[in-house]
Amino acid sequence: MIELRNVTKAYNGAVVVDDVSLTVGRGELAILLGPSGCGKTTTLRAINRMLDIDAGEVLVDGVSVATRSPDELRRHIGYAIQSVGLFPHMSVHRNIATVPRLLGWERIRIDERVAELLELVGLAPSHADKKPAELSGGEAQRVGVARALAADPPVLLMDEPFGALDPLNRERLQREFAELHRRLGKTVVFVTHDIEEAVLLGDRIVLMRDGRIVQDGSPEDLWRAPACDFVRDFFGDEFGLRILSRHRVADLPLGEAPEGDDAPRVRLHTNLRDTLARMVTESTSHVAVLDDTDAVCGGLTFGDVVTGVRETR
């Protein structure tokens, strides 16, 4: 779907992206992660030709982007950025309709699409006539996502789209977006410097540093087998806890249930991080597991959790 071959970009002699090669498959959500200045945003912007590369090649659907006009290319790639960049003089409706308008859609089709998108991103139809200044930060960001999705582009580029939000709103939008991605199956390249966001959203993390890719794999791959000290240091000790939050009790082989009825209980779909938290709160190292019928179907010890997560897929 998206393929970068030996992409290199320099500004005033300083190499910002250095010989990066990367393939993102159809429907995949790839996170470009790294400290600021690592070249992740530059890499992203090379895909829709917001900037032009010095060497290498970018292919979308097997066609080199260099052969397409930048404007035409961008109309077929969704793009959402941290500052949103809603057009302040246009209504929400007109903002979302931007690309369909550029593509010359008919009015009825545009109106239907806007209504559909508002629902998709969780906004009431009454928001359509508002001006961006009347929206909260979270609402504006939802409109930004809707605008990026407007012409149903197969590819979506996102540059810290939730970075400017408060933690509560950010997490809610992140979860909604993960759900949206599962439903729509778009190919997404998502830039962030937030480790938590990367681990929460990404099935695939591309960690960058100084313009190069340091490691590319699932969060579990990066955790179990960091390619170098930088990877380990970048994620830090909390990485394990964050990985735990990606897995559920059901992912582990269950052991014996604890004796007695007053043992703390968790469910099959409880994530492992919450399970661990429960043990700490109840000062126990052994919890009972309930199935969907509220019957005890096994137990889990502290040891099961911390060693088991290493083997989960």
Partner: protein, 238 residues
């Protein structure tokens, strides 16, 4: 620096009242005569008698509108040029030359243009345009500069071409600032056009200067009031 927005603008009742007052002053000479007679009981002549005020109003408006149209055309074009990649090298030097132009009194340009353009409205038009292009151009530039970068960036990211970004995003967002420039331009034009009488371009300056020449305060006021009313109308209406 020092962005200062003076209070409330655009009061339509005020505009309507001022327009009525101007119409009265320009069209109904007996009434004006009566008013001036009350103010200046000793004056031997109360109004400028050689031509009707409507003629000066027409001349004045013609000067302002012609110069304004030329200035808007040049000022907007120059502003767009100066912010375009092609004209960017000239941006600072053009603003400096334009600012320098403001240090030259407008009458001086009228006077100096007489040998080349003759007496009448042409030297005045030249001077008016030179003086009023700057606020238009500066406000076009300031307005376009004030457009948030992320908005333009987002437009670019969605595949708007340069001209689409300019027409759909940058110009509409810059419009309030550009309109301020056009209002300033018109106020400057109305003021400078009163000086055009010096080189025979007519306008409200003719009765004012005639009154000054004959030490007749009533005639001065007869010419000064409509010029002030016109400037106030423009200032309130735009």
């Amino acid at each position: 620096m020092s962005a200062y927005e003076p209070g409330i603008r655009r009061s339509w009742p005020a505009v309507a009242g001022l327009t009525l007052a101007l119409a009265f002053w320009v069209l109904y000479e007996p009434g004006v005569s009566a008013v001036l007679g009350m103010l200046f009981p000793d004056a031997d002549t109360l109004v400028y008698e050689r031509s009707p005020m409507s003629r000066f109003a027409a001349e004045h408006l013609a000067l302002v509108m012609q110069a304004g149209a030329i200035s808007v055309a040049i000022g907007v074009a120059a502003g767009l040029l100066v912010v375009s990649p092609l004209g960017r090298p000239f941006r600072e030097v053009i603003s400096r030359i334009a600012a320098f132009g403001q240090a030259v009194p407008s009458v001086a340009i009228m006077a100096l243009a007489v040998p080349a353009l003759g007496y009448g409205s042409r030297p005045v038009l030249l001077a008016l345009v030179i003086f009023s292009v700057l606020p238009v151009m500066l406000n076009v530039v300031a307005g376009l500069d004030g457009v948030p970068a992320d908005v333009v960036e987002a437009g670019k990211g969605m595949g708007m071409s340069r001209s689409q970004r300019l027409r759909q995003l940058e110009i509409p967002l810059a419009m309030p600032v550009i309109m301020t420039g056009i209002r300033t331009m018109l106020v400057i034009l109305i003021s400078a056009a009163t000086l055009g009488a010096v080189v025979g371009a007519g306008g409200f300056g003719v009765p004012i200067m005639s009154g000054i020449g004959s030490f007749n305060n009533a005639v001065i006021v007869h010419g000064a009031v409509p010029a002030i009313l016109l400037a106030l109308i423009v200032d309130q209406a735009l």
